[in-house]
């Protein structure tokens, strides 16, 4: 069947006519769905149609046609044009309209991503993908399938700060589990790049402990970074997994990270020389895993950790003694380390150059200031929101048929009072 002049006109007319309100748009979407095959077969001839449409007003129609146009394989010269047309559409399209056809929207965004990678210019896709995420999301709590792509572009183009701004949203809804794995893994790497180790740890922890029937390469790599970030941020690593970790992860992850666990052992000796020896032995593994930078940070964190440990035993200590205990070359080096730690808030101390001594102090925070109260309030509000969400989820789950079926079968194991209303044979 050919796309004759009349059907082209009627297509454009339909789009023009049915783009004003949600009722019309739903009608339009059904019509366009029926035209889908037609659009696909005539994809090479559809480009002129786009000039007759306004992407900001006729977003849904424009989207269908654009998606069909871009579905054919293209040459490298055309890649630039494609990227430009998709980026411009993303910028001006109406969010409510494109949300009626999310799979089409995701499709063109993924094509933009692919072309941007082939053009070896990942930065071109950063701003468009950020806009597309914000338009596709029903709320900032939803993780779309475009999130991990955006994170990857941020990493490749070294635009870490903008990636971090998206990571600040709390996620409660996920479309596909695979998206969550990749999002948290890439997100962890962005946090590491910005030296936000606490958040990196949280994200990597999610990857390692997420439900998984079999382990994936993502989980393995995340575990390696998790070990390193844990050493940098906490000064230690707990080899036991939390109870909610999948059995697949618990059984297998350690087998792929032997060299990293050796590093943990050498770190726990507290001696920089031991850690450096270990790094030398496994240098090639760390290198091929692209973790050498992180490993170096692990080593330099040891000096900090060791100096911090001294505060637990001493009230004052000479710079010379610090240098000796922590394996630094001179008192001056020790002084510079302590000064840096004071600046970053890792230690509370004052240096007395006249006597060559350091006096360790208590944390002066009294938790009484307005600023501290604001912080506490923010955290409490966040927990309250989380608590309300959990209550709602609990209620929804207690009506779930498969859950009730399972409870019904095993009700003799539970308290009579809680479950006597559930029939022992519950079938739908």
């Amino acid at each position: 069947m050919n796309l004759s002049m009349s059907s082209v006109e009627s297509l454009v007319a339909q789009i023009h006519g049915l783009s004003s309100n949600i009722g019309e748009l739903t009608q339009l979407r059904n019509y366009l769905k029926q035209c889908d095959d037609l659009l696909r077969t005539e994809s090479t001839r559809l480009a002129p149609l786009l000039t007759e449409l306004d992407p900001s007003v006729h977003s849904l129609g424009y989207l269908y046609i654009l998606e069909a146009c871009t579905s054919a394989p293209i040459s490298k010269d055309q890649a630039n044009k494609l990227v430009l047309s998709v980026a411009r559409f993303i910028n001006v399209c109406a969010a409510e309209q494109i949300r009626l056809a999310p799979e089409k929207f995701i499709s063109i965004c993924k094509r933009l991503m692919l072309q941007v990678m082939l053009l070896e210019d990942p930065m071109r896709g950063v701003a468009p993908l950020l806009t597309s995420i914000r338009k596709l999301q029903s709320s900032t709590e939803q993780l779309t399938t475009l999130h991990p792509d955006f994170m990857l572009l941020c990493l490749l183009s070294k635009c870490y700060k903008i990636g971090l701004s998206v990571l600040e949203d709390d996620i409660f809804e996920v479309d596909l589990p695979r998206d969550l794995f990749l999002y948290c893994y890439y997100g962890g790497m962005i946090c590491i790049g910005q030296k936000q180790f606490r958040k990196a740890l949280e994200l990597l922890h999610n990857v390692v402990t997420a439900p998984m029937p079999i382990i994936s390469a993502i989980a393995v790599e995340a575990y390696k970074k998790y070990i390193l970030v844990s050493l940098i941020h906490l000064g230690q690593f707990a080899t036991s997994f939390p109870k909610y970790t999948s059995s697949a992860a618990q059984r297998n992850l350690k087998n792929f990270s032997q060299s990293y666990l050796e590093l943990v052992n050498s770190y726990s000796t507290g001696k920089v020389s031991e850690v450096e020896k270990c790094v030398e032995i496994y240098k090639d593994t760390f290198g091929s895993d692209n973790n050498l930078g992180l490993v170096k940070q692990v080593v330099s964190s040891m000096y900090k950790r060791n100096i911090q440990r001294l505060t637990q035993t001493y009230l004052t200590l000479s710079l010379q003694d610090i240098a000796n205990t922590v394996q630094l070359n001179s008192p001056k080096e020790a002084e510079m380390h302590v000064l840096q730690m004071i600046q970053e808030g890792d230690i509370y101390a004052t240096i007395n150059q006249k006597d060559g001594m350091v006096r360790f102090l208590e944390d002066p925070e009294q938790y009484k200031t307005c600023e501290m109260i604001e912080r506490l309030d923010f955290s409490i509000q966040r927990i309250m929101r989380l608590s309300k969400k959990l209550t709602t989820m609990n209620e929804v789950m207690s009506c779930d048929p498969s859950y009730l079926g399972k409870v019904g079968k095993e009700r003799q194991r539970f308290d009579y009072d809680d479950f006597y209303t559930v029939p022992s044979k519950f079938t739908i």
């Binding site: 930065m123 870490y160 009484k368 200031t369 309250m384």
Partner: protein, 197 residues
């Protein structure tokens, strides 16, 4: 490329906004597929990041700058030198890096402001970290001659022992706000309500 927002910020001395404006403009240029690298004000962009103490972003920006630009625009390398020394925390040499280059008119204002801010920041660090410190080190950290440094700190209440060339630091009393208002009462009510239900 339209740099009016950037020029405005510089004219109004809103130096803390420079980095954000440059980032936004760069994304705009990139998403339009415009080849902007040759004419981009990398020096100002780098200094903008340094001004707000975001050395991470300065580092990543430096990595993105094409080699040709790095080699042909000495101001860009000079700006990065400052960032690099801040990164490795070589406090004293930052002043040197600022002084040894003749900055273009576009960068002069923000550089002067940064230099002043940095000296103040160093002073506050010395004040919180040291109880006694040599005149020599103080001068290095503040980027001043020993005489100027001594006068500067004496004005802030420190004392000097000329015999040992040592300065005794006067700690700044910490002023904290502790006043509460009735909105806090409202919030406490919300917490209790939440806990009761």
């Amino acid at each position: 490329m339209d740099f009016s927002a950037l020029n405005e910020a510089l004219a109004f001395k809103s130096y803390d906004k420079v980095a954000g404006i440059c980032d936004t403009l760069m994304f705009l240029a990139a998403s339009e597929g415009v080849s902007y690298q040759q004419d981009w004000p990398y020096a100002i962009h780098l200094i903008g990041h340094i001004y707000v103490n975001d050395i991470n972003s300065a580092r990543f920006l430096w990595k993105k700058i094409p080699l040709a630009v790095k080699e042909s625009q000495p101001e860009v390398s000079a700006a990065w030198k400052i960032g690099q020394r801040l990164w490795i925390k070589d406090y004293a040499s930052v002043h040197e890096a600022i002084r040894e280059f003749i900055w273009s008119p576009q960068c002069q204002g923000i550089m002067a402001a940064f230099s002043e801010m940095y000296t103040k920041r160093m002073f506050e660090l010395l004040q919180s970290a040291y109880s006694t410190i040599s005149i020599q080190d103080t001068a290095l950290f503040l980027g001043m001659s020993e005489e100027d440094a001594t006068n500067y700190v004496l004005q802030h209440g420190w004392t000097v022992d000329p015999a040992s060339r040592m300065l005794t630091v006067k700690k700044q009393a910490v002023v904290t706000k502790q006043k509460l208002d009735h909105s806090k009462l409202q919030r406490l009510t919300e917490y209790v309500f939440h806990l009761e239900h």
